[in-house]
Amino acid sequence: MTTSVRENVAVTGIGLVSAVGGAVTEVFDAVCEGRSGLVRPPADHALHGVVDVAAIGPAIDPESVIPAKDARIVDRSIVLAVRAAGDALADAGIEVGRDVDPYRVAVVLSGVGGLGTLAGQAVERSRRGRLGVSPFMLPGTLPNMAAARIAIRFGVRGYTSSVGTACAAGGQSVGEAMRILRAGDADVVVCGCTEAPLFPTFADAFGNALALARGWSDPTVASRPFDRRRNGLVLGEGAGVFVVERPGFARARGARVHAEVLGWAATSDAYHPTTPRPDGSSAAESMRLALRDAGLSTGDIGYLNAHGTSTKAGDAAEAKAIRSVFGDGMPPVSSTKGVTGHLLGVSGMVEAAISIMVLRNGLLPPTYNLDDPDPACDLNHVRKEPLPARVGAVMSNSFGFGGHNVSLILGPAS
């Protein structure tokens, strides 16, 4: 299976915003200890009475990250992204312009964009006509604006873009960053994803598609990946940003390296806009191609963080895909969404960060709420308690509406 090995990239900065914390150590402790981020939306939240449960991130004053004059019509997703990017750059110890040429820094910052703000503006348009629509709506909502705001805020003048692959977008942003660095088109890439889906129109779209968990009196048990009684995902919001660098560049500036991305791959189901290909064949190929990209074999993977959203079809298809790749020798597998909820594209970033902590701490988080494993999800589950294990490489999967499959492989700093 092993072919050519291409250059790894170093992860030197991590910034997260989520319902279970901002510091990666805090997030890792939450998923290991079962400290759930899932709550019933309180009375003052837009989703109160709309959904049973959600993973709600912290309140962040937009003016704390964006100039007040621009912050009136700006989507929460952009605010979360700028916050996470600032944290990631600080964690990496990088000041653009001081530590790296601004034209040698790229940004790949993804997500569905500011749909909540767009929905609000549509209501204003309906209520007040043309004068109800702000001229600031586009810079406040377009999906590229998180990347643009980060470039503006931190003085990044190199390549900037946004990946639109729904819930695979975070993982794919790391992959695109790897592609940019390997091509020599940048020395540093700020990559990640941001999502703010917790508003009624978006939640109702998921609910009406029968994709949301429902009927659980205790919100903390509503997300139950691979469990026989799972009945849908729990929507979450947040942002996740990595600073990744060419390893030589990181070494030369004396940076601390959290971990390295060893390889990645992306495939498409070519099957259905929302339903995953039932045999999991394209998802499996994504995992195989990522292994090949990293120059590893299945036996090298010591832990697999599954996409595992807690939907009937998605979990079963992923389990089938994992089994077809790894067979009986599969590594321990868990989905951390039982605790975090599903942060859509951001889940790939949160789970890659968790995977980095697995490498550093030698502890595998369990799948919480996996009380009764579904026989259709025949995996080597980590259940109930974290599992101590020193691992040399981990795989993190992300799959998105549209049939997008992304697999990342991470390893320790070399």
Binding site: A68, K69, A71, R72, L131, S134, P135, F136, P139
Partner: protein
């Protein structure tokens, strides 16, 4: 009417998160003074239209940047009076 327009302008600027300290009739609305940029000038034109029922086209809104507060108030007054006379 100019006083009322000036008051409307100051309230609008406050809502748009611009400082109104040290603003007087001689303060320029654009970068040399209040520092309204292109989208903010467009929003100000919308606010004028919403309040006074007069419309400034794109080219006219861009000229706001070079106007002083006093000139802006007079321009709005003239436009509003012309509209009411029609």
């Amino acid at each position: 009417m100019v006083d009322e327009i000036r008051q409307f302008l100051l309230e609008s600027l406050t809502e748009m998160k611009y400082s109104t300290e040290d603003i007087d009739d001689g303060t320029v609305l654009g970068p040399a003074g209040v520092d309204l940029e292109s989208l903010a000038l467009a929003e100000l034109a919308m606010r004028v239209e919403d309040r006074y029922g007069v419309r400034f086209d794109e080219d006219e809104a861009e000229t706001f940047a070079a106007m002083t507060v006093g000139e802006f108030c007079v321009a709005v007054e003239h436009r509003a009076q012309a509209a009411s006379a029609m």
